[in-house]
Amino acid sequence: MAAPHRPAAVEGGAAALAAVAALALPWLLQALQMDFYLSVASRVLVYAIAATSLNLVLGYGGMVSLGHAAFVGLGSYVTGILLAEGVTSGGVHLIATMAIAALAALAIGAISLRTRGVHFIMITLAFAQMLFYLANSVKGYGGDEGLTVRARSLFPFGLDLRNGLTFYYVALLVLAATLFALARFVPSRLGRAALALRDDEVRAEALGFATFRYKLTLFVAAAVLAGIAGALSVNLQGYVSPNALHWTQSGTLLVMVLLGGVGSVWGGLIGALALLLLQEVLSAYTEHWEFWTGWVLLAVVLFARRGLAGMLVDLRARVLAR
């Protein structure tokens, strides 16, 4: 098979195209009189950040976590509670969210990473459900009715996340920064170490690798990113409920990562886009969109193990090999 022709250039070109499209989207929607869909696009961005954070843990760390949504929910609650108490500074929200997510992940990770395989899956699930029930019990902040917040995060230079356009661009910025960082991380020394770890942990350990520390670092980093996604989410919806931490939400994030491509930089974005688009398009035609989504997912699991990103890579390889 011939070597792919200038892959970096193609990859870079695709990224540039995506960036231009994302930047121009609000204008396009306005022109088409579809500005309602700006909030849909914003929702895609928030989910993309959350899914990318899961991909860090799953695709690059090899850790199957059924409790990742809890960190997103945690971020939403931290920011939501601050807003409900009258604290509107976005900077405070950001710092508080990141700090609390990091602490929680440190505690949860330190215990969970002592287990492997299905036990790790179950214990991450257990911790997520503990946080879920905790959120249910705090009647002062809504409890199982959820917390409605009227205020929004305010950032310097007059950036108010209540404005749909501002929110979209802030979320886009966060996602772009995330993808950029991830793209730099993968070929770096740390990234290659993580991949070695994921592919053959026993061997890596035998080679003197500090597996536990690496995994914990990835776990905490992913949780912090998930928390940021959560902080954005509560700003977009003006509402957070314990359901955000439920294991089925973690399942949805896993689905996005799978659809997009486990271990691929764009996997989180492509997966979020694919699932939410699928949902929007299908629900316009039928109320049974979950049914068809399930089949698509099943097909991907059974036949396209590397997800849509994997399919795109294969496609590109085939096109370039001509």
């Binding site: 799953l58 199957v64 059924l66 215990i111 002592r114 287990t115 395989g117 299905v118 036990h119 899956i121 179950m122 214990i123 699930l125 257990a126 911790f127 459900q129 503990m130 029930y133 905790l134 249910n136 019990s137 009647k139 002062g140 409890g143 199982d144 294991w247 089925t248 399942g251 896993l254 689905v255 799978l258 486990v262 049974h288 979950e290 049914f291 989504t293 399930g294 089949w295 997912l297 099943l298 699991v301 059974l302 193990r305």
Partner: protein
């Protein structure tokens, strides 16, 4: 707190625990024998409830409904196993999680398309009243039936697994699959059988709980997690572990709904106490599971060699 109150709550906890056992037993067998994480197990419980409700509605008899529901669900389980789930046994756990999650989506909407969002299921009218167990303790007849069926099935499963050839095969398969295969056991048929039994147990729970809860879409999602917690606590592949784990979880849940709010009401407003009680009980269950996982990762009654 009067002895009648304690006894009544103990019966409630036991009843809940036994129904959880029915789900956990099937799940632990499937996980133990086939090494498969089946997130769709709660959906089998839902399918069982809907089929029972449908047959009961069509025939006018709760008993026929239950029996019909169990038979149809076992059949459905077998078909599902042969057609789809078989290809997942050799895959990694992540693929199993995702594929069975997809199955949850498909079954939720699939059942909705065929039966609607919920179906009524009423217990037989003869069981609508109470039974006087002790002077002052009137316990609903229907719940006593549930307790009886739960105990009966637990005994039956025990005898099946410990005393029959099928049971021996299951135990062998759970502890060492390659060896059993090498010894000439028809592993494929064994697996289908185990899955069908698991599905049937789910249907019994679904049909029996239908009149108390509601037969509705999504009813399996919360109970599924509890079932997983139970099998982790009890030990994957162990029926005995599933029983012990289920009764423990049932007891803690009932404690949380009753004793804890009493205590909390001393220093919290009633709304907060009522919310915190069940939440703390649920958290306690998960804390317990986490502790077991860290100290005894194979569970309380490990089975694997």
């Amino acid at each position: 707190m009067s002895p009648i109150f304690i006894l009544e709550q103990a019966l409630n906890g036991l009843q809940f625990g036994l129904m959880l056992f029915l789900l956990a037993a099937g799940l632990t067998l499937i996980f133990g024998v086939m090494d498969m994480i089946n997130l769709a197990h709660g959906s089998l419980y839902m399918v069982g409830a809907f089929l029972s409700a449908w047959v009961a509605g069509a025939t006018g008899s709760f008993l026929y409904g239950l029996l019909g529901g169990v038979a149809l669900t076992a059949l459905f389980g077998a078909v599902l196993e042969v057609s789809l789930l078989r290809s997942l046994y050799t895959r990694d756990h992540l693929s199993q999680v995702l594929a069975t999650f997809a199955l949850i989506l498909i079954l939720n909407d699939g059942v909705k398309m065929i039966f609607g969002t919920d179906l009524p299921l009423a217990a037989p009218a003869a069981l609508d009243g109470p039974v006087e167990l002790l002077p002052g303790l009137l316990y609903p007849a229907y719940r006593l039936v549930i307790l009886a069926v739960g105990f009966g099935l637990a005994l039956l499963l025990y005898l099946l697994v410990q005393r029959t050839r099928l049971g021996a095969l299951v135990r062998a398969g759970a502890s060492n699959r390659e060896m059993s295969g090498a010894m000439g056991v028809n592993v494929a048929r064994l697996f289908t059988g185990v899955f069908a039994i698991g599905a049937a147990l789910c249907a019994v729970a679904g049909g029996l709980l239908g009149p108390l809860l509601a037969v509705q879409i999504g009813m399996g999602e919360n109970i599924l997690i509890l079932a997983f917690v139970i099998i982790v606590i009890g030990g994957i592949g162990s029926i005995r572990g599933a029983l012990v784990g289920a009764i423990l979880v049932g007891a803690v849940d009932t404690l949380g709904r009753t004793l804890l709010p009493h205590l909390l009401r001393e220093f919290l407003p009633p709304q907060w106490a009522s919310a915190a009680g069940p939440a703390l009980a649920s958290i306690a269950v998960y804390v317990f599971m986490a502790v077991v996982l860290v100290l005894k990762p194979q569970g309380l009654f490990p089975v694997r060699s």
